[in-house]
Symmetry: C2
Subunit: 641 residues, 2 copies
């Protein structure tokens, strides 16, 4: 572009000629939406094809990234961590399977195959794979609504495998199509509220185990559960209750120990296993069954049987299967990705949301073929893994091998585990998930976040888990839409010491210029807020005229914050200009951004309103208006003279 | 505040002490959301209570605003306009009632009571109240899906009254609770596409009348309609077809005349009435019924009977009634408010969306009590009213009186009206609604708006009207959420001539400072985009380091465009800071806005990152970084020396 051309295309410094092609804009839009982390950059940087292939394989299969540099020293760290999480995996596997109304063995199976798959494809170094309490309960609830797990346990089990398959396909697709954006809609506040609510109802539900009840409410909301306990209070057994309280006190004490002396984390890590062993021995020795202490019951030896032939896509159950699969899929991703990310930030190790989604998807897919149900990266287990000093995903391999040995040789030993021990383990784990400090923080910092959090909490505890989740996510989206429909605008004034233009409400020492109104618009303007922006501008003018008594002659819109516009917004701006003109007010636009400028040019808005109304700099626009104010006043004085 | 205190609370000019109370923030939030036009200002400005009451009544009942100044001259204008729209109301009333499978009389009733109600409560001066084609078809379709209008016409009619009642209550509530924000989600693009699609299917449907067919498809989508014509082609009557084509040519010619000579608008305005009269006379004289020309049939004399006793809230039909009521309610509001607004902008006359909603609601409520069905402000009729020189809502009174006289004395005369004349009237009106120029404009200016428009058009023509509408609104909301999830960021560079910092992509003559990266974030940051923003910043750093070879030591975030933040965003910012620190990069924040600052203070973010990282001015931040870059280099040189 020659200097002359450049000068012609610029006015008051504003670039009036910019116009990118449609394909360029589309490409950049797609890239920002789906590839914000620019994943293929490192691959494309390599010059040799062979290096590119290696980098590509390393990108898609992270095990190839860390395995070549693996050594004995790292392995020793991973071995200790693997032993620790395996000791947690056995009691957790059995208890969470109970939550989903599944045979305890399915819980153990789920800690064998999925961790192996994750070790190959997972991008996080700290993730410990296993079943999770909230999703177990949710999946159990949803499938129970179409098939009774006691009346037809086989069909129920098959539907659970099908659900896991659906979850796997869904998660892998999300990752493959790079829809990590969906997980972004689960905010911290939603997760905090949801976890807290789930913890409360889980604790209440486990009172069944602690009191040794045989009948109980099948619903999860708080009122139904309390009614269930009261209705069956004649079944309460003191033997179980005493045992339960002892286990609980022990588990809570070890947790307390961990917070006091972080080095003793292993005490709390092996505490659940200890509870299971001690409880099992005790029940065996005193013949607990005769005293009303319920036990897990017979457990078969042997590794995961193949389950692919059991998938059931009968239309009668399909809607429940899909609902359970999709909701638990997103939920477990949100939990797994959040926990993985927080540890990777602490340690500055790699973590990639989209890769995690693919890894989770593959792990549930393979799981559904081999008699496992939904797995993810549970908060508690991953934290233990991290504290135990894990270095790579090899800990999951160690966990899987130990689980395989247990399944092959030791499974029958766990048949004597008292249910009350499992209930105590779940309650103890759940107490830690009620994060009331975070809730107080939310209340202090952001009332709407608090509302989102309480929406999830109250929804989960009073109605049901999926409704609670939907209420909370819905509130989040409502907030997003409100931000979009009512963008913040502010009146700018000049700071005397620096000459900057800033919000007059925020900087009370700023001063305004009589007759000139400067408004900053702080958001994309489009259909949902075009009318609002128009009305807001008119209201600023009205209140300016009432408060100062000066007639507004110039309205300057600072568009720095307006990153984009649509056609409705352009029409709204034209309307505003028409109304202002009819009142003798001139409108200038300052610093329109690239995307906005492109559309203003294409829609002939620039031609209509005139190039001279555009400024690059607020100061220039203000000076131009002041100059013309003075001129008009001089003219007026001359006229009247 | 003393000077010393003020100095303590400011750092680098940033106001670090601002903290509004919760109630203040809530009040201002509610006001911006629901009262952006500050409606009670003029009332509250009055000092005397009596004046306040008068202003208040005038505010809520706009007729008191214009009636006191009403005079004969204005009335003459209104009389002519009223005569014109009444001559349009009779044929339109009969034809649109046919679209909704209703007796023609109901169409005429609907132009008597509702216009009277609107005249009292409506805020627009140009609105001509009547039934609208799209909503008539939509309401007819939805209710037909639960009750057959031919098998049980009485029940069908009662359900239509009930639907109108639901619409009225819904619209009045929207206005009362100031939820005009909902209507904002119908963008111009949606309305253009929806109108075009509706026009196409209406034209196709009216081929039934033109060809004189007796059987036809009950579905509205394009394929079903064409199949219906082909299946019944043996019923085509040449007499009707010839008559239909003559009427169509006549009507299109008068429309053409209007665009050529706007003064002759009245020719096209009375053309439909002429068609009806000529058609009726002709059919009467040649005994058209014997030649296969279908006529409207017997019409009773008399004004609207009371219909309140017919409301039917039977749960069997309730869901269809509610669906039809809500969708047509929002749809007719969107059309009515859009048309009212566009004329009020042209003439600078008052128009208030929330008042219009209340007026529309009351008019449908009263209508549902008196045998009317859904009314709104149709595009065509309002445009005719405007062209005929209407001055106030009195034209609606004139229209209503003429309609009352017609109903009382002339109704039986219209029994000979041939159906083909009505079909020609509808087709001719619909041709004008296919706004292909607007579609081309959308395609040129904004591809996503074009997509939204085509979504509505194709959805309506290929699937059904409500699905088309939902697709389009859904796309609009998706776009809003994408804006929100992927806010525009850009890298800033310094313009050499003005010293301003602007987007380097937009202003290619701007230059960057080695080692310092300036990023402008252009949107509220919160849960849905916190991760994205983090990744985008890291990507900027990576690409800066690869392209220039300099190591980035300072990252300056310009927060001017960040109008608000939530707790997830604050956490994300802390995460980003942690990652940057681990790479030895220092982060500064420039010009945080009031709401953002409040939350950064409340969440202890400011304490954590340090006051010295905040700047009011980009220049200061850049200078500070350059100073410290030089110092560190000097130190480095000294160290190595």
């Amino acid at each position: 572009m020659t200097k002359v051309q450049e000068k012609m295309n610029h006015h008051n410094g504003v670039n009036l000629s910019i116009q990118r092609g449609f394909v360029t804009k589309l490409k950049s839009g797609l890239k920002e939406t789906f590839f914000p982390d620019d994943p293929f950059r490192t691959i494309m940087e390599e010059e040799k094809l062979s290096r590119r292939v290696i980098k590509g394989v390393q990108y898609f299969v992270p095990i190839f990234e860390w395995l070549p540099n693996y050594n004995l020293r790292i392995f020793l760290s991973d071995l200790i961590a693997g032993l620790t999480i395996a000791s947690l995996a056995i009691p957790q596997g059995i208890s969470y399977a109970k939550l989903a109304n599944l045979p305890p063995l399915v819980g153990l199976y789920s800690s064998f195959v999925p961790p192996l798959v994750y070790a190959v494809f997972g991008s996080s170094r700290h993730m410990a794979v296993g079943t999770i309490a909230a999703a177990s309960l949710l999946i159990g609830n949803t499938i129970s609504s179409v098939v009774d797990p006691i009346e037809d346990p086989t069909l129920y089990l098959h539907l659970i495998f099908t659900t896991t398959f659906v979850t796997g396909v869904f998660q892998a697709c999300l990752g493959f199509f790079r829809l990590g954006i969906l997980v972004d809609f689960f905010s911290h506040s939603t997760i905090t509220g949801f976890m807290g609510g789930t913890a409360v109802i889980l604790i209440l539900q486990q009172l069944k185990g602690i009191f040794g009840l045989k009948h109980f409410s099948s619903k999860t909301n708080i009122i139904a559960v309390i009614q269930g306990i009261i209705a069956n209070r004649h079944e309460i057994r003191w033997e179980t209750t005493v045992l339960g309280i002892i286990f609980l006190v022990f588990l809570q004490f070890t947790r307390h120990l961990r917070t006091k002396k972080p080095k003793l984390f292993w005490v709390s890590a092996i505490a659940p296993m200890t509870t299971v062993i001690v409880g099992g021995l005790f029940t065996y020795l005193v013949k607990g069954q005769n005293h009303g202490i319920q036990i897990v019951g017979h457990l078969d030896k042997g590794l995961n049987p193949i389950s692919i032939q059991y998938f059931n896509f009968d239309s009668k159950y399909l809607s429940a299967v899909l609902r359970a699969g999709l909701i638990t899929g997103v939920l477990s991703l949100a939990e797994g990705i959040a926990i993985g990310r927080s540890f990777s930030v602490t340690d500055n190790t790699p973590h990639d949301g989209n890769k995690e989604m693919i890894a989770f998807g593959l792990m549930n897919l393979c799981g559904s073929f081999t008699s496992c149900y939904l797995t993810s990266g549970p908060f508690s287990k991953t934290a233990v893994n991290y504290n135990a000093g894990c270095k790579t995903a090899m800990t999951n391999v160690v966990q899987a091998i130990l689980m395989a040995l247990t399944l092959q040789f030791l499974a029958p030993l766990f048949s004597n585990t008292p249910i009350v021990a499992l209930s105590a383990i779940i309650i103890s784990a759940m107490v830690g998930l009620i994060n009331y400090e975070e809730v107080i923080y939310l209340f202090k910092v952001d009332k709407f976040d608090f509302l989102i959090c309480m929406g999830a909490f109250l929804g989960v505890t009073l109605i049901s888990m999926d409704v609670g989740l939907m209420i909370s996510v819905g509130l989040g989206i409502l907030r997003a839409l409100l931000y979009v429909a009512r963008p913040a605008t502010c009146k700018l004034g000049k700071l005397s010491d620096s000459g900057l233009y800033r919000d007059v409400e925020q900087y009370t020492n700023s001063s305004t210029i009589p007759g000139v109104l400067i408004i900053q618009v702080g958001s994309p303007v489009y259909f949902s807020n075009a009318t609002y922006i128009k009305e807001r501008i008119l209201r600023y003018i009205k209140s300016e005229e009432t408060s100062s008594g000066d007639i507004v002659e110039y309205t300057i819109l600072d568009l720095t914050g307006v990153t984009s516009m649509d056609t409705t917004a352009i029409e709204g701006l034209l309307e505003t200009n028409k109304i202002l003109q009819s009142r003798g007010i001139q409108m200038s636009l300052v610093n329109p951004r690239m995307e906005v400028m492109e559309k203003l040019i294409a829609s002939k808005f620039v031609e209509h309103i005139g190039k001279e109304s555009f400024y690059l700099n607020l100061d220039d626009a203000v000076m131009a208006s002041q100059y013309s104010l003075r001129t008009s006043k001089t003219n007026y004085n001359e006229d009247t003279a």
